[in-house]
Amino acid sequence: MTGSSLSGGLDPRVRAAAVSAPVRSAALRPWRTQSAQRLAFGYALLAPAALYVLLLVGAPFLFSLYLAVSDANVGDPVARFIGLENFRSAWEMDTFWIALQNSVIFLVVAAVLKSLLGTSLAFLLLQDFKGKKLVRGLVVIPFTLPIAISVLSWKWMYDSQFSVINWVLSRMGLIGQFGTDGWPIWLGDPKLALVACILVNVWRTFPFSAIVLLAGFTSVPSEVIDAAKVDGCSFLQRFRHVVVPMIFPILMIGFLFDTVFTLSDLSVVYLLTQGGPGNATKILPVLAYQIGIQAGNLGRGAAIALFLVPLLVPALILVLRNLKRREY
């Protein structure tokens, strides 16, 4: 019922009848055409959201652009325009490139893990089994706990001495004892720290991925699946050629949102490692915060925070346009 049948399907005579009456009077009163009404109604509906976003995000965004091209400091009421100087000095900081690299690694690894875990979980939740509601309820909890607090708990769970994870793993014989080299210091070892942060991010958001996927899966009409089954498609074939194309828009949206959320997320890393050890977990938002707010150099902080925007915007536009074209 969805998909291809959306655009047409109505008997042309019915459609003509529905349209003709207003069209006749439109000749006499153009502003009363269905189209004009539709537009008026549409813009009215859109207005509150658009205004809200414009005023509370758009205007501050312009302000942050201004900051990025000025030498603003936190305490200085006056700032001078300095062009792209902030971007240039960010470019020259090797910490900046490290942060950029870390951000990208974080994003990619987290995305892969989330898709894998989310998809598997969504599949399992599609099945019918006793206790399904309970499972669903339990699995959602990481997402509903306030982020500041759940991350703090993880901090303790990764603690160099008291880590519950290490306790379990060492009792299972998978890692060494406390005090030896085999005892992982999650947040202190540059090789492990970024992984530790990524795992927390994945833990928090894979339920969200699973739910989005679940929504997608359940929106595929059963007739289509049945038809494919009848055609002799195997499970995987069904998945690849039928289900995925249908839920692609939802998948894409979920994926995009997750990308932007992850890229601008400060809390996980800030609360766990603050960018340490060394620069192992320094990601762009953390660097921007340290330079902009803690060290007071607002201009440069803004430049760092906004650095990815010129790169992401065209990419996003491309993807979103493509998405729309795919639709009916």
């Binding site: 019922m1 969805t2 959306l6 655009s7 109505l10 459609r15 529905a18 009404q37 539709r38 537009l39 109604f41 549409g42 509906l45 859109l46 959201a49 809200y52 976003v53 509370l56 995000v57 501050p60 302000f63 942050s64 900051l67 598997s120 979980l121 089994f129 006793k130 509601k133 499972v135 669903r136 339990l138 699995v139 959602v140 909890i141 990481p142 509903t144 982020i147 607090i149 759940s150 703090l152 708990s153 993880w154 008291f162 519950v164 406390f178 339920p207 929504a215 359940t218 929106s219 009409p221 949102f257 932007v260 400060l266 921007a288 902080g301 925070a305 906004l306 996003l316 536009i317 979103l320």
Partner: protein, 285 residues
Amino acid sequence: MAGPLTQRRKELRRHLWIYAGVTPFVVIAVFPIYWMLITAFKQNPDLYQMNNFPFWFNLAPTLQHFKTLFYQTNYGSWILNTFTISAWVALITLVTAVPAGYALARLRLPGSENTGIAIFMTYLVPPIILFLPLSRVVAELGLQDSWWALVLVYPTFTVPFCTWLMMGFFKTVPMEIEEAARVDGCGQAGAFLRVILPISLPGVLTSVIFAFTLSMQDFLYGLAFVSPGDQKPVPVGVPTELIRGDIYYWGSIMGAALLVGLPVAVLYNFFLDRFIQGITGGIGK
């Protein structure tokens, strides 16, 4: 014959496979929660012993941390604030995002494609920069240091997402139903209110629950805009008042998180149910 027995055995086997598959997920998701739960009731000396078994009590459990939470901090106010703020934000999001989603999905407005994309772009602006000009706005409106400041600001990250979500949902409503409603003489507004909206109720509910949850995830705005102890919501109050200097009150921190997170999870679960039911039901028509 062997029919019903084999049937049952097949069911059992299927169930076992599923449980085997589901268990790791449940363990991963829940094990930290369980640990938080135990810690909330553990005495401090118990917590600071490396060799103690962490998953159960070595010293008697205690309600001390909860007492601290309720008698020595403003936790009661924080809970109230959290739920009130989330409710208002969900309402605002509902009123702005649902109509906007419909307009962008169905009404073929010129420039809607770009507007949709622009709304999405707002997520690229990092809060660490946004909070400064927003402080100005909040102060000008006289909302500084009141939780209303958060009600004003949180929709900036719930509205874009929920708009897109609603767009997705509205797109799945068959055109015929809309046309039929209009033919019935409903008019644009009527069609929307009386026909489309009820059908999309699962989607609307999902938006509400997402908005509700998202507004419990913020820390920076709450920190920047609200400093009086009794005005803070839980996600801000806990890290700011249960960490003194370099002393962490772990037991209370855990208790605080669970008392707030678990009810929301239950609520979430309830809505998820309706949502998924609704979707499958709606399509079947």
